[in-house]
């Protein structure tokens, strides 16, 4: 009744015409714009390169996924933390990324005793921290002491305890000699002294070491000897480094004289892949780490340069639980090694920056041996024969059965690398064909960590990788006394646990290159062939896409980046 009255009044009123049309058009436009993304044009990546002579100055805008949770370089487990740490601190030695050889850096030379329990480093005398204090043996001692033991009062964790097991002390017979002593032989310490990955032994000034964890979140107070110093740090967003004035001690192997070329580096954290690639395309950034496999080709087509290096250490591995049914059967382990198509993985999942694993060690680690012609090959027929012989018969659903129990293999993996899941799925499909049901649980790091605690009893396979460019990484990862990656124990059927312990342990007993090579080969033979404790999958890579005018970004032996040698052709 009321509405009737209203309508009649309203109808009597004169109609105004213009604005509703306007509103309608605006609304339509809004919808159109929000549902419409233009295709990208050619970015500044297409610009030509310079004449090859380094240009001084300029600011490098560099993007990555992670951010530094604290500017303290001795702490930290992500790439942003290790990468930035490498540019504000220096190490005792530099590992050549091509040969794996340990070369001088802050230490001019070194020697070690026959037992490999005492390492004597002769330090450079011209090195200073950015606050002007000298770098000497007292600094080395203070750093290593805190690095290994932590400091409860300051809230500093024992970050280096895992890298330097059995550290006793550092002796300082004179200002420029430091003797580092261990309880047990530790051949891998020489490589550890160059370590640039997570929780790295980069030297901090004595004033920094006195600060609590909380005080170290003030970047200006974190003092190193590196080619760059902190200008600012904003958690979640960015870290800005500026060139260290007077720096003149980059590793001799780099053949870089004097200060860094760049004036400034801005590390911007961009969690979204499409925003990283888009920003590179629009010229907002000069280079980005963490390039996804699916973006590599399109960025290259846009004129950007893709540089990459495989992570040195182990490949991405399937570690078999030697105590849990059904991976306690060596026939099952061998069948898995033989049962998946490496060519298919390469074609459908990996890009040119990645490679299929041919050993448990990455090809860049000294002592690496190639098993692609023997145990690590695709031979489904042989795999099936092995299973048949061991009593695994095809069940009604195609999955094999033995003693009434199905051949179900449970895998625990991490989804931190984009390639992992598709790679594992490719293997899963192939194994199904030979009657193995590989069940995948590929989860984020916290869930993985939670499950590793129960891996001994719950998981047949744990899939991960370990970044350490030294053959002794096999001892760390697989020795029953240390990482025990395949959960060896008394009830591991058919495995001589003592033999494994001794064979792997030998890697820590010598630094003689020839002997080490033999020991590394023996260790790989044992892990891959004799006991088949691991199925290596692929070699992960760190991939950078950069504009053509960016030069000289270094991938070190741990595939972390150094910028002392980096420059921009346009000098901006």
């Amino acid at each position: 009744m009321v509405s009737d009255l209203r309508s009649s009044i309203e109808r009597a009123a004169p109609r105004r015409k213009k604005w509703p049309w306007g509103a309608g058009i605006v609304a339509v436009l809004l919808i159109a714009v929000s549902g419409f993304a233009l295709t990208r044009g050619g970015g500044p990546g297409a610009q030509a390169a310079g004449d090859g002579k380094p240009v001084h100055g300029g600011t490098l805008q560099f993007a990555l996924i992670d951010y530094q949770r604290s500017p303290d370089p001795q702490w930290g487990t992500n790439y942003a933390e290790s990468l930035i740490g490498n540019n504000i601190t220096d190490k005792l030695t530099w590992q050549d990324p091509d040969t794996g050889e340990i070369t001088p850096w802050l230490a001019k030379s070194w020697e070690y005793n026959k037992d490999l329990t005492e390492f004597t480093f002769h330090l450079r005398t011209d090195v200073t921290f950015s606050d002007g204090t000298p770098f000497d043996s007292a600094v080395v001692k203070a750093n290593f002491d805190q690095y290994v033991h932590g400091d409860q009062k300051l809230g500093i964790l024992p970050n280096g305890a895992t890298l330097l097991p059995g550290y006793i002390e550092t002796r300082t017979p004179d200002k420029h000699t430091a003797i580092i002593r261990f309880k047990k032989p530790l051949a891998s310490f020489l490589q550890a002294s160059s370590f640039t990955a997570n929780a790295q032994p980069g030297f901090l000034s004595l004033s920094t070491l006195k600060l609590s964890a909380e005080q170290r979140t003030d970047p200006k107070k974190v003092i190193g000897t590196g080619p760059f110093v902190y200008q600012s740090w904003k958690a979640q967003v960015s870290t800005v480094l500026v060139k260290r004035k007077g720096y003149n001690w980059s590793p001799p192997a780099l053949k870089h004289q004097g200060e860094a070329y760049l004036n400034k580096i801005v590390f911007s954290t961009i969690p979204e892949a499409s925003v990283r690639t888009g920003s590179l395309g629009s010229g907002a950034i000069d280079a980005t780490l963490d390039v996804g496999t699916t973006d590599e080709k399109s960025l290259a087509d846009q004129g950007f340069e893709i540089i990459h290096r495989a992570v040195s250490g182990t490949s991405i591995f399937f570690n078999f639980n030697s105590r849990l049914f059904p991976t306690n059967d060596i026939a099952v382990r061998k069948a898995i090694q033989l049962g998946w198509n490496r060519e298919a993985l390469k074609k459908t999942v990996l890009t040119g920056s990645y490679s299929v694993a041919t050993s448990v060690l990455g090809p860049s680690v000294s002592g690496y041996a190639d098993y692609s012609g023997s145990v690590l090959t695709y031979d489904p027929k042989k795999a099936e024969q092995l299973l048949e012989k061991a009593g695994w018969k095809r069940g009604p659903d195609g999955i094999r059965v033995k003693d009434g129990k199905k051949l179900v293999v449970k895998l625990l993996g991490i989804n931190n690398l984009v390639v992992n899941k598709p790679a594992y799925e490719s293997i899963q499909q192939d194994l199904k064909k030979i009657g193995i049901d590989l069940q995948l649980t590929v989860v984020p790091i916290p869930d993985y960590s939670a499950n590793v605690a129960k891996a001994k009893t719950d998981w047949n396979i744990t899939a991960a990788n370990r970044s350490r460019n030294d053959p002794a990484v096999l001892n760390l990862q697989y020795s029953p006394l240390l990482g025990n990656g395949s959960y060896l124990g008394e009830d591991s059927t058919g495995v001589d646990v003592d033999e494994v312990t001794k064979t792997l342990g030998r890697l820590e007993l010598t630094l003689d290159p020839v002997e080490r090579k033999q020991y590394a080969k023996a260790a790989q033979d044992l892990l891959l062939d004799k006991y088949a404790l691991v199925n290596p999958v692929y070699n992960p890579s760190q991939v950078i896409a950069q504009a053509k005018y960016v030069h000289g970004i270094i991938f070190d032996a741990q595939s972390r980046n150094h910028f002392v040698n980096a420059w921009k052709g346009n000098g901006k």
């Binding site: 024992p158 911007s268 961009i270 629009s282 370990r466």
Partner: protein, 319 residues
């Protein structure tokens, strides 16, 4: 009136305490050990028990759970939530650091969302063309159903990568605020607009409007002068929901636009089981939520004379 006040304040305090306790329980029920997450996952088996114990001890994770709870609660009462496990920094300082950034983003988005919502309601009520009304009324549900993630990326594609008008990431002044604010405002405006469209329509049909018509007022005058004032009030009732939407949306907005903020920090803290930090954030969110609802409860009687009458005459429960 005093009882009403005490009741509301008491409820607010209970909500904050419950949030604190629930987070604590949840984080301890989770299977992962916060200490494990301090190490490289591939190295977990190699970390010696002494190192693990030392790490646990420095954060107090080695004490019995009940003691940890009481200790944390006691400190929390004084505003001390301990130190973040991941950065070693005090939780309060960490939160205060990123809070302004989120506050600016959220207030900007709220303002824009209100503008959008009122514009939609006004247009839908004022127009006499059915197709315009239908189109405009469809917008709120559209706004809610487009994922923030998608609208953010689209916005970046067009206005940042293509046109280069705005920076794509980081916190660089007002310019880098525009796209995130729009992205966050869109989903937040949806529920407000829906509510307003309905309440505008209801008020538009009430008796006093008819009186105005009879007195000769035009449609525009009626909508702006009479309906607007009365129909706006209900928007306050969903202030709590709006706040929730802002916080939820900020997690994704801050991630897409690589901004510093509470949302992104919360996500990282949960992913790494940073117990002290998660607690600090949850308590902050719960407290804000409680305070907002408390203010709405207290302010409503002042704005609505009918409610005031029931309060002074009848029992507070009637509210």
């Amino acid at each position: 009136m005093l009882r009403y006040l005490a009741l509301k304040v008491g409820r607010a305090l209970f909500v904050v305490w419950a949030a604190f306790t629930l987070t604590f329980v949840l984080l301890f029920v989770l299977p992962a050990n916060p200490v494990d997450l301090l190490f490289d996952p591939a190295e977990l088996n190699t970390v010696t028990s002494e190192v693990r114990e030392q790490a646990a001890e420095s954060y107090g994770f080695n004490k019995p759970v009940l003691l940890q709870y009481l200790g944390r609660l006691g400190h929390a009462l004084t505003g001390d939530f301990g130190n973040s496990v991941q950065s070693g920094r005090s939780v309060t300082a960490t939160i205060l650091d990123v809070l302004p950034s989120t506050f600016v983003l959220a207030s900007g988005a709220l303002l824009l969302a209100l503008l959008i919502a009122f514009a939609i309601a006004l247009i839908a009520t004022s127009t006499r063309r059915a197709w315009v009304r239908n189109l405009v009324e469809a917008l709120p549900s559209g706004a809610v159903s487009v994922p923030v993630f998608l609208s953010g990326i689209l916005m970046l594609q067009v206005f940042s990568f293509q046109l280069g008008w705005f920076p794509a990431f980081g916190d660089r002044g007002a310019k880098s605020l525009v796209l995130p604010v729009i992205t966050l405002a869109i989903p937040v405006s949806g529920p407000i607009a829906q509510l307003l469209v309905r309440s505008f329509a209801t008020e538009f049909r009430s008796g006093y409007v008819t009186t105005s018509w009879a007195k000769g007022a035009t449609r525009g005058v009626i909508v702006v002068r009479d309906v607007f004032r009365n129909a706006s009030l209900p928007a306050l009732t969903i202030a709590g929901i709006t706040f929730g939407n802002l916080i939820a949306g900020s997690v994704i907005t801050e991630t897409v636009f690589a901004r510093q903020g509470i949302g992104r920090m919360t996500q990282a803290a949960i992913n790494t089981l940073d117990v002290p930090l998660v607690q600090g954030v949850v308590v902050l969110a719960a407290a804000s939520f409680a305070v907002i609802n408390l203010i709405v409860d207290l302010i409503y009687p002042l704005l609505d004379p009918r409610l005031r009458a029931t309060l002074t005459v009848g029992s507070p429960r009637a509210a």
